[in-house]
Amino acid sequence: MKILLIEDDREAAAYLIQALDEAGHVTHHAADGETGYAMASGMDYDVLIVDRMLPRRDGLSIVESLRAEGDKTPVLILSALGEVDDRVTGLRAGGDDYLTKPYAFTELLARVEVLARRSSPSEAATSYEVGGLSLDRLSRKVERDGEPILLQPREFRLLEYLMKNAGKVVTRTMLLENVWDYHFDPQTNVIDVHMSRLRSKIDKGYATPLLHTVRGAGYMIRD
């Protein structure tokens, strides 16, 4: 994946570039807003990671300009401002996701990988299939190897989100944001308990587990 990182903190940028490289992504770096904007509009990237406060040009204005030009490259906004209204302004400016500093790299990586997928057409798919497990978004039916599985509405939405991002790590915060639509940190293991219930419904009694726990990061569904 080709990523453009616009971040003025050299140390943070160096760490991110190295970590993204280890995760198999090519990362270009711009240290100020103007350069970042020039690079973003001049080259084709899969994901842009944009810091909100930048020298020479504000991160949000870069995103706004790109969107105004019809550039739909997914954007992850990084910011030290984490209040509800800050997030709202960030997303309103055209950002696709918003991550508050300080963050765990696993969280950033998971979000970047899920974002990149958005540009692919599977977004509009009406059904998903992973290793014999199928989910129909219209009839709201879930089956594994032809056997129907009964899920609670919330469990259905959890599975739907996981399957939409099959093969990618989704973090607990991402689940809380996308399934419950809340943006705070789940303090205890609330999400884990929901996941273990879901797992018992879709994996119990089958030889190959589909729902995997990724240590220190989150969950992933894959065959």
């Binding site: 419950w180 809340y182 705070f184 940190d185």
Partner: protein
């Protein structure tokens, strides 16, 4: 800067001067009006008297003839007073009366005149001498009688002038008196008003110099100044309370953040220690990350509380379905509670809307449920139970989270809302001591009240919000 200019700057002097100016202007106008009115009155009265006298003399002339008229005129001419009388023949030649030197045109042409004259009273006045200063000034009316004789009747107005002089004199006296009076009254009023302002200024000076416990004295008069003083005092109370809160928070932050920071540092040192194997290092680093995450959480909670306490930025409070939020969070915690052997029961009135911030209400509910699930652990052989309720009561919306745990002693119920306050019993439990502070701040942000009540046994936390 001259001393006068300095003096003029003080409100006392300016206020007094304004008072005097207004008072005096008003008094002068009033007195002038009275003076003018009374002179007009006197003039009218005199004119009427003259008319009446002429009418009486004419009647006398008609009934009693010239003899009766002459006799009467002779008599009233001699009487002392301001009366002016003149009777002339058909050509105007003096016949009798107490004035002799009346201008010819006055005698010959009927009408009203005013002129200087010399009084000729055979009994009291010396005979007129030509060229002498004329001492009288008369207003007269001249008529022609039926038989062609000329009659002039009038009043000496020198006396009236004397009267005017008296009026002017008393007028001046009055003005001086009024100026003096308004000087005193204005001075007293201004000083009384300004003294109270000075009191407020003195108090604020003391406060500025660091004594925040000073208060503006409030009198029993209950006037505007007392209203102002009461408001100022309320403001000072609030500021003092905020400052105390700030101080307490600073102390607590210092204490409560130093502890995890120390642990963090210890872990990092452990990882660097000579002879540490890979596993120890791995563990130390993982602990380090966990500790820093907790620190970040604490910071976030502190910031959220600070933001909520600073008031809502416009646009963050919107019309939300609070029933849905409460139900969401109850559902989110259902499985966790169940794993702990606790049953969450809900009784939520559906479709209740509020002007609130969804995220903040959600976070508050999470904090309350975290606590409830943490403390509702079965005691002895009892069963842990948590109830989540939302109902409308008159114009309030009550959100309740209750457990049947050990509860909070009455004397601690206010204290646990303060930042970083953790009761002895809960010290062993994980937590930052910020959960309830956040709930309290969020509730107040939305114009409500947060209370902790006795659930007998256990805690009932009530978020009491104004309905939409």
């Amino acid at each position: 800067m001259s001393r006068f200019a300095q003096l003029w700057r003080t409100s006392t002097v300016r206020l007094t001067a304004t008072f005097i100016l207004i008072f005096s202007l008003f008094a002068i106008l009033l007195l002038a009006f009275i003076t003018w009115q009374s002179s007009v009155q006197i003039q009218q009265q005199q004119a009427k008297d003259i008319d009446r006298e002429i009418a009486a003399l004419q009647r006398l002339d008609a009934t009693g003839g010239i003899r009766a008229l002459a006799f009467a005129l002779e008599r009233i001419s001699r009487a002392p007073g301001p009366g002016v009388y003149y009777l002339g023949d058909m050509t105007g030649q003096y016949l009798l009366g107490n004035v002799t030197d009346i201008p010819a045109n006055v005698i010959l042409e009927p009408g009203i005149y005013a002129f200087d004259y010399e009084r000729a009273n055979p009994l009291t006045d010396p005979p007129p001498s030509a060229g002498a200063d004329k001492t009288g000034f008369a207003v007269v009316r001249s008529v022609v009688l039926n038989n062609g004789m000329r009659l002039v009747v009038g009043r000496d107005v020198v006396e009236r002038r004397g009267f005017s002089a008296i009026i002017v004199q008393s007028f001046l006296l009055g003005v001086i008196g009024i100026i003096l009076f308004s000087l005193i009254a204005g001075g007293i009023t201004a000083r009384r008003v300004l003294k109270r302002i000075d009191t407020i200024r003195d108090t604020s000076t003391k406060i500025m110099s660091g004594n925040l416990s000073e208060r503006v004295p409030v009198t029993r008069r209950n006037d505007e100044f007392d209203g102002l003083a009461t408001n100022l005092n309320a403001m000072l109370d609030r500021i003092e309370q905020l400052l105390q809160g700030l101080k307490q928070v600073t102390d607590n932050v210092a204490h409560d953040l130093k502890t995890p920071l120390t642990r963090l540092r210890n872990q990092a040192e452990a990882a660097l220690r000579h002879g540490a194997d890979d596993e120890t290092r791995q563990q130390a680093l993982e602990t380090t990350i966990r500790e820093s995450d907790r620190l970040i959480q604490t910071f976030n909670a502190l910031l959220m509380i600070a933001r909520a306490e600073a008031g809502a930025p416009s646009g963050t409070l919107t019309d939300i379905d609070v029933s849905a939020v409460v139900a969401d969070v109850a559902e989110l915690y259902g499985p966790v509670a169940e794993d702990e052997g606790i049953l969450i029961q809900t009784s939520i009135t559906e479709g209740v809307h509020l002007r609130a911030n969804r995220e903040l209400i959600g976070q508050a509910m999470v904090n309350l449920l975290e606590n409830a699930v943490k403390y509702a652990k079965p005691q002895g052989d009892g069963e842990g139970r948590v109830t989540v309720g939302l109902r409308r009561h008159a114009d309030r919306v009550l959100i309740e989270v209750a457990d049947n745990g050990p509860g909070i002693p009455e004397e601690d119920r206010k204290r646990v809302l303060e930042r970083f306050v953790r009761l002895e019993k809960s010290r062993s439990e994980p937590g930052s001591g910020l959960g309830l502070s956040l709930v309290d701040a969020v509730t107040r942000l939305m114009g409500g009240q947060f209370r902790i009540e006795d659930n007998a046994p256990g805690v009932r936390a009530v978020i009491d919000l104004p309905a939409l």
